[in-house]
């Protein structure tokens, strides 16, 4: 049974990027149909670590990140819930003098861009964050960063988009998109045929297929985060923690559960699904016990993993299509999409409605993969 629809904008992919774009477009008064292959926010948006941070991002992401940063404290006004956002600050640890030097260098580079980081030496770190294991040289602290609940935020954006009048279809995998006259025709496996003036490709780890349909294949890979969650524990971790060089990140929610990520999970036979590896989780558990002695008596009650789309240079693809007017891309956030997604939605809405955005996004243009497109197989 076919249902025919017409809208100003078709959005492929109902993760945070797609739903925040839908919401922002509705604010601009455009009609929106969002097509999600499964459930909105069930993929990367719902299974990421939950860090809401500017610190540590590639410098070119900072303007976009700062734009999003202003939105997080206002989430309740925007989507009806604060998504359990806590502005605890983000503390990035250094395990060696070299690592500390990297943190100092980064702090210098971002200071003119409006990100004021506080560098802490070993003693100050012990004084302010005594619950962190002593084998750390120093740290860089970013006030205003924090963390939130990815499952709630993703679902809340979808619900808000619906309330704002976006038509959101779940279990509607897109099977084809083509240019049709001066618009686009999109079809789903669930029997929808949609005509739109513009298309936004925010299909996350699956976005490569749609880019390829318009002759701009990209080297999009899948990465699978591995996260462990403890039982509720007495409050100790007062900041969102990361580490220079990666390997572990940790936060504690208000209910007391500690969420610790690190290591990569393993894809299953169907690469859309993954499971943490037991070696990986045991390693993270041991690392967490070393770094956070107060967690040592706790129990892990849950592991999770999921599918995130990643680009080789760890920057997303955001912006207009190289080949097709009216097509816009926003995907490949490489495991760091959570904090910036609300900002990306606004940027996409500006692009679609006016052709330009006030936030610098040139570094994320799909053009940088043009060579790869000519030799790609998908």
């Amino acid at each position: 049974m076919t249902t025919r629809l017409d809208a100003d904008v078709a959005i492929i992919g109902g993760g945070l990027v797609g739903t925040s774009t839908a919401l922002a477009l509705r604010r601009h008064g455009l009609s929106v149909v969002l097509l999600e292959q499964g459930f909105c926010g069930a993929q990367a948006s719902g299974v990421n670590y939950g860090g809401v941070r500017r610190q540590g991002r590639p410098v070119e992401q900072l303007p976009l990140s700062q734009r999003a940063h202003a939105m997080w404290p206002r989430l309740r006004d925007l989507i009806g819930t604060d998504g359990e956002f806590l502005d605890t600050g983000h503390l990035k640890l250094a395990r060696s003098d070299n690592d500390m030097a990297s943190l100092e260098e980064y702090a210098r580079r971002v200071e003119p861009l409006g990100l004021a980081l506080e560098l802490l030496g070993h003693n100050e770190l012990r004084e302010r964050f005594g619950w962190i294991g002593s084998d750390v040289v120093g740290a860089s602290f970013c006030p205003g960063d924090g963390h939130a609940n990815p499952r709630l935020v993703a679902a809340a954006f979808a619900a808000a988009a619906r309330r704002a009048g976006a038509q959101v279809f779940e279990n509607a995998p897109v099977t084809g998109v083509i240019r049709d006259g001066d618009g686009f025709a999109t079809e789903t496996a669930s029997g929808l045929k949609l005509r739109s003036r513009a298309v936004v490709n925010s299909a996350g780890a699956w976005a490569g297929t749609f880019a390829a349909m318009f002759g701009e294949a990209v080297p999009l890979e899948r990465i699978y985060p591995s996260i462990i969650v403890t039982e509720p524990m007495a409050p100790v971790m007062t900041v969102n923690i990361g580490i220079e060089g990666g390997g572990i990140y940790a936060r504690q929610v208000e209910r007391g559960n500690c969420v610790v990520g690190g290591e990569r999970a393993l894809p299953l036979a169907n690469a859309d699904f993954s499971r943490p590896s037991s070696e990986g989780v045991l390693a993270i558990m041991a690392r967490a016990g070393e770094l956070f002695p107060s967690l040592r008596n706790g129990h892990v009650i849950r592991f999770w993993s999921g599918t995130e789309g990643a680009m080789p240079d760890r920057n997303p693809v955001i912006g207009a299509s190289r080949t097709t007017p009216g097509l816009f891309h926003a995907f490949g956030f490489s495991g760091a999409g959570f904090q910036i997604a609300p900002g990306v939605g606004e940027v996409m809405a500006e692009l679609v409605t006016t052709g330009a955005t006030t936030t610098p996004i040139d570094a994320f243009s799909i053009v940088r993969f043009a060579e790869a497109a000519t030799t790609a197989t998908t």
């Binding site: 809340a156 070696e279 558990m285 967490a288 706790g298």
Partner: protein, 462 residues
């Protein structure tokens, strides 16, 4: 010495023990991993120490079966690798992760028999989290394995054969059993006739339990509804509705349950195809002939794959082992296998009758009040769940978990998933078979953060 690896049996209850015995007899030296310190599962759970009571006072009419099971397993000691106090928390690609002595061991297996058993099935009631409320199984374990009664003036409530059995066991132990509140509708009782035709002993025994209880002054009520447990910081009484009247009794403990629910998490993790079973009103791993699952090399036995009872557990454990033996290309006793299959069919028909006599209270989701907690661990009440379903237009159980936190606690949905599914089905206007099931995830039970990987690589056979 064959080139094949070592089979693994998870669980040393009746099913696991008989599976182990059968494999051992065939010359395969199985590894048996069980969480408890001794074999027997829950139904034939052993005391930690001798306490002067007879096997009959612990296991009633099944004492001989229990004793025989314990003895037979002990006699197998040299023919198997037995790991008590060990938790299988993950299965992946032919390797089991086992937490034992604060260490994690990775065991490669060649053939896997899942005999993971069951726990009580409950639907939340007002006051069900109060100190002094235990499951029927829990009340029985307190008596059997710890020589303790859950209270001095106990009310038993719920439905199913276990209700009368545990109440009677408490009576025999000298406890003041104040009431047995049976929630099964009167109309369902006619099915006891059906059950009586198939297994007259079992039904007669149940009726005798009820008669003795009544004789000794226990208040027996049937077709009760709207049970509420009262008390401030612990159980002080129970109230209920029967024939339009509200009744009340004071008591200091409640044993409550509505039959059993299978522990299917490992089957799910092993990749077994799951299907909704109307009788158990739960998703079960599909059981192919002889106890084979949908995954080659993975076999299912006992209550862990669908509630069948202790006798069927022993039989299905033996049967699953015979299937494993046959699939290995070894000599298999087909006559015995066929005989077991016939007996299991018979028992299954009995289970149909019993389930009909003690049906699942499908009206529960309609009647449960907003203030009653659905998820004990995370303390989420029915009202919160109902609101979230409406606000987020939810129709699938994992989504409900993601939004409401139901099932995110330490028990990982063991206690609350059945109730959550019922409530979701009603609110979303779907069948309880169409709202999904909680996705099984490792670890299947809480793991100590400081669990360290044991030295050495994956352990293969022998």
């Amino acid at each position: 010495m064959s080139a094949r690896g070592q089979p693994l049996i998870v669980g040393a209850g009746p099913a696991g023990v008989r599976a182990a015995e059968t494999l051992a007899k065939a010359g395969l030296k199985p590894r048996v991993v069980d969480e408890a310190p001794a074999c027997g599962g829950q139904i034939y759970r052993q005391r930690l120490v001798e306490d002067g009571r007879s096997a009959t006072s612990l296991y009633g009419s099944e004492a001989a079966k229990a004793t025989r099971l314990h003895r037979d397993f002990a006699a197998l000691a040299s023919k198997l690798d037995y790991w008590p106090n060990a938790l299988v928390w993950n299965l992946s690609d032919g390797v089991a992760d086992v937490a034992v002595n604060r260490e994690n061991r990775r065991l490669a297996y060649d053939g896997l028999i899942l005999a993971t058993g069951a726990m009580d099935r409950v639907l939340p009631l007002p006051g069900w989290t109060l100190p002094g409320v235990f499951t029927l199984g829990g009340a029985q374990i307190a008596l059997k394995a710890q020589a303790c009664a859950i209270g001095e003036k106990v009310v038993f409530a719920g439905s199913g054969p276990l209700l009368y059995l545990v109440a009677w066991q408490y009576l025999r132990a000298g406890v003041d059993v104040r009431a047995v509140l049976d929630a099964a509708p009167s109309a369902a009782r006619i099915n006891l006739l059906r059950a009586a035709l198939q297994a007259p002993d079992i039904v007669a025994r149940g009726l005798r339990f009820a008669a003795e209880l009544r004789l000794r002054g226990t208040t027996l009520r049937s077709a009760v509804s709207d049970i509420r447990i009262e008390g401030d910081t612990r159980v002080a009484g129970v109230s209920w509705e029967e024939r339009g009247r509200r009744c009340q009794l004071s008591c200091d403990a409640v044993g409550y349950g509505l039959g059993l629910r299978p522990e299917t998490q490992l089957a799910d993790l092993a990749g077994c195809e799951m299907r909704f079973d109307a009788r158990d009103r739960a998703f079960l791993p599909i059981r192919l002939w002889g106890g084979r699952s949908s995954v080659s090399g993975v076999y299912l036995a006992g209550d862990g794959a669908g509630i069948v009872g202790a006798d069927a557990a022993e039989l299905s454990g033996e049967r699953a082992a015979l299937a494993l033996i046959e699939d290995r290309g070894l000599v298999c006793d087909h006559v015995r296998a066929a005989a077991i299959d016939r007996r299991l069919s018979k028992i299954s028909r009995l289970r149909d009758a019993l389930e009909a006599a003690f049906p699942f209270p499908t009206a529960w989701a309609r009647e449960i009040g907003d203030q009653t907690l659905i998820c004990r661990c995370e303390e989420i009440d029915a009202g919160t769940m109902r609101r979230a379903i409406r606000d987020f237009d939810l129709s699938e159980l994992n989504r409900v978990k993601a939004i409401t936190r139901i099932g995110m606690g330490r028990c990982q949905g063991r206690v609350c998933a059945a109730a959550a599914a019922e409530l979701l089905a009603l609110e979303a206007g779907r069948g309880v078979d169409s709202v999904g099931r909680l996705r099984a995830q490792a670890p299947v039970k809480p793991l100590p953060l400081m669990l360290r990987a044991a030295q050495g690589k994956s352990e293969a056979a022998e």
